[in-house]
Symmetry: C3
């Protein structure tokens, strides 16, 4: 096991969460490779091999578009999102691709309300090294509910 | 501190969670030694030294039986369980036994319902090396509620 | 990256959580330097630069006072608190000060009730080495809600 690479992987996940939760959304697409796949998909669809995704971006440019769209959204009630990520499992694969799975929960706090679990599931990811840094080449967010949360407009 | 052993411990916990949450239940008993103790116990009983446990397995064979029983259960509503595990504290002990405590929460998503916190508490564990791999020799899941969740049939 | 220091940082956070959740409150102030700042503050105040904090201790002596006060409190319903901490980001700074941010959630279990998310947010911390051990020189707990939880008397 390469200890430094392992900690670098943990850092990538922490940077991902920091971008989404602490308001640095611009940094979020930069954690992906130019060609990439980002998908938020209900567990049932994932397990049955159904392609339908709740959110789908197929390049870094599309991730940036999404961030721009979020900036311009004004009908969306203010809220704080907070990720909890744990149980990372790292599986080095062929051709420099590193597979990682992890559990996540996203907590949501609406103004004047208490904090609730908004979404939970697992990440099924592929990492590669680009320009000396580990990046997401593929990130699947497979969430546990069948219900699609109506307000799922922020990345998971 | 042995860095490789530390990461190996984290891997064991991640493998444990992966078996339980991603549907690979058969792998779960294999993370324990042949002679082992697995116990799910309310906090109050643990602190008062009362033996009553909600779930108790005293060997790997009993853990395997439990997995078999879960397979055959049909009266149980489908649900997804998702563990969050954090704050591992490692305390090397005598005779090759490694003590580990950690916090856990298990989130539950029932069909057509939102995700809820199902159970939370701490793991109080003893690890030993067997056949070159770290395994659970003892695992206590001490949960915070006094109420015993009626649907506690899956391992915690 | 200094791997040993990194694991030492993770240990400090695990020790912090263990003190608060497993009933070893006396150990909690000892994880801070003598001169220190501990502050629990709503996200909005933090982001607007408003000083108002829900809990404020400006020295280890004040932290110890708080522990003493908690001991004497009898009007407070018994409950179990359980921290989940993840996504630590470490940023070594000047003069031996290490910056760390992390996400946290505190789950609460009242007697005869199910476990709920009590408080969630992020830690924004400064660590220094004192007497050979890493300690908190500053710890801000910036929570996501605007509502101040009425029962926030335990450290976060």
């Amino acid at each position: 096991m390469d200890v430094h690479e392992r900690l670098e992987i943990e850092d990538l996940y922490a940077a991902y969460v920091e971008c989404l939760d602490d308001g640095a959304l611009d940094g979020w697409p930069e954690l992906f490779t130019d060609e990439c796949l980002y998908k938020v998909i209900p567990r049932e669809n994932y397990e049955r091999g159904l392609p339908l995704a709740v959110m789908l971006c197929e390049s870094k440019a599309m991730l940036r578009d999404r961030v721009e769209a979020l900036r311009r959204t004004s009908v969306y009630a203010p809220r704080a999102l907070r990720h909890l990520v744990s149980s990372l499992r790292v599986q080095p694969g062929a051709a420099g691709v590193i597979g990682v799975r992890a559990n996540y929960a996203v907590l949501q706090t609406l103004v004047d309300e208490t904090t609730q679990v908004f979404n939970a599931g697992r990440y099924i990811d592929q990492l590669v090294r680009q320009d000396g840094r580990l990046k997401f080449k593929e990130k699947l967010c497979v969430f546990d509910s069948i219900l699609v949360p109506g307000s799922l407009i922020y990345p998971i």
